[in-house]
Amino acid sequence: MTCDLIVLGAGPAGANAALAASEAGLKVVLFDQQPEAGGQVWRAPSPGLAVPPSPEAESGGALRARLAASAVDRRFGRTVWSVGGRFRVDAVGPAGNETVEAPRLIAATGAHERVVPFPGWTLPGVIGLAAATVLLKSHRASPGRRVVVAGCGPLLAVVAAGILKEGGTVAAIADLSGPQDWLGALPALSTQPRLLARGAGWALKIGAARVPVLFRHGVRAAEGEEALARVRLAPVDAAGAFAAGAERVLEVDGLCVGHGLVPGAEVTRLFRVEQGFDRRRGGFVPRLDEDGRTSLHGLYACGDGAGLRGAMVAEAAGRLAGLAAAHDAGALDASAFQSAAATPRAALARAHAFSDAMADMMALRPAQVAAIPPDTVICRCEDVTRAEIEAAHGDGARDMNQLKHFTRCGMGPCQGRFCGDVAAELLAAKVGSREAVGTFTARPPLRPVALADLLGAFDYSDIPIPAPAPL
């Protein structure tokens, strides 16, 4: 089928883009891999499960209601595995493969977890901070009975408070940042008083439960046989490198750890639009004009997949990209576009200080990467260690695709999403810069799909065999 606009991702950015364009009169198809809209921040509760009220649940519920009342063609529970042409999207869902074409495409593909590897991070029971929020928001499940929460940024408090709420025990919070880092961010955080108040609420809950909060601490190792049994925490310095001081060993069955997020920018990378490396925004991100247009005509990007700025910015940037697509399609004239764009533009300007302060706290710390032990797995899918990555450099690998060929790093089923950022940082330390080592080339399938899903029910007798040519 064809439509006016395809939107990939139904989080705060993509859903608002789809709604804005649809309200302006475009025929819009919206894809998402999850069964419901909301993305990870406004994640929908599992069907039949009541969740306690929260601002995220409220925003997500309101968004889902607006979508349900709209003319947007919602294709959820679909895995988009190919994006090509100008523009053709192939997605596998409950009814097999479906193909949609449109002259315009908005990539609002969100972000995924960054975990700077440490020994044992691959053990069952070790999950990401964002993964923990999924369990808490969607399933009201605690990621363990007794859990260490470690890493950096505001998700530490969100996850720890959520575990307490679901009846779990938080053995400790290990924050790479120190109290002085949080104090330094306070002026920027106080530009969003509502969010600051929520942060204070989480801190109170954590304090009331007497959870030990270890500032300037990182995970030295996770240990166990078939699953996590204990976590070793050690002091770090301001740059994220391990420092002198006593190690703490905690017996736990869960570790939630995250060191920021990585933009899911594979779609814009696939089209080879202009991009640039921006540490604050999480890595390589597409270069955009102020309304979200990439360097390729008809292709737009917004939300965390276009550079990490958080849900508030995503909402406004999504709306702006949807309006821009409608304007470019001729559905909104210049003055209608300018007046509709004024509100999201103002929201973007207001949110900048807050989102920059948060992004700085969650940006990759080079000293933390430098401290990874040599035999630690970097690429989970292919069990490629730091030592193997550095040996590949010794053998002549100078960019990410050469590294992939030399070691299979990034070649497994996650397609480099979990190792790419740290592997690039390790190689860049040898080569000179992140720009020089670049990124893994994005190529279809964008996400693995079962061949059976593409083929459907199929037998040899179904193959049409043409009559033999006359001799």
Binding site: Q34, P35, I127, R140, A141, G144, E166, D383, C414
Partner: protein
């Protein structure tokens, strides 16, 4: 993972039985398979292909592929697979 969350207030979903490596395991209809497995203490889902290390669900949002299991005979990401009565799951340790 396995905190006592089954039976939380507001969980109106019926209890069903799924088969994990031929063993009957209770689960809530509609919850994601990774959550159901974790509630039952089934954290180890597979082995890594090269070093043979124990692996389990990691991202819970469909990206990392660590929870790919044979569900009713087809390779599926367990974190994207809702539970229903009679689902058969094999932890073959393959991808």
């Amino acid at each position: 993972m396995s905190a006592g969350t089954s039976g939380v207030g507001g969980d109106a979903r019926p209890l069903v039985t799924i088969l994990v490596d031929d063993v009957a395991v209770p689960a809530r209809a509609g919850e994601m398979l990774t959550t159901a497995l974790a509630r039952n203490g089934l954290l180890r889902l597979r082995k890594s292909p090269r070093a043979g290390g124990a692996r389990g669900a990691f991202c819970h949002m469909g990206v990392c592929q660590e929870c790919a299991l044979h569900v009713d005979g087809v390779l599926r990401q367990a974190c994207l697979t809702p539970v229903r009565e009679g689902l058969t799951v094999e932890r073959r340790g393959v991808l």
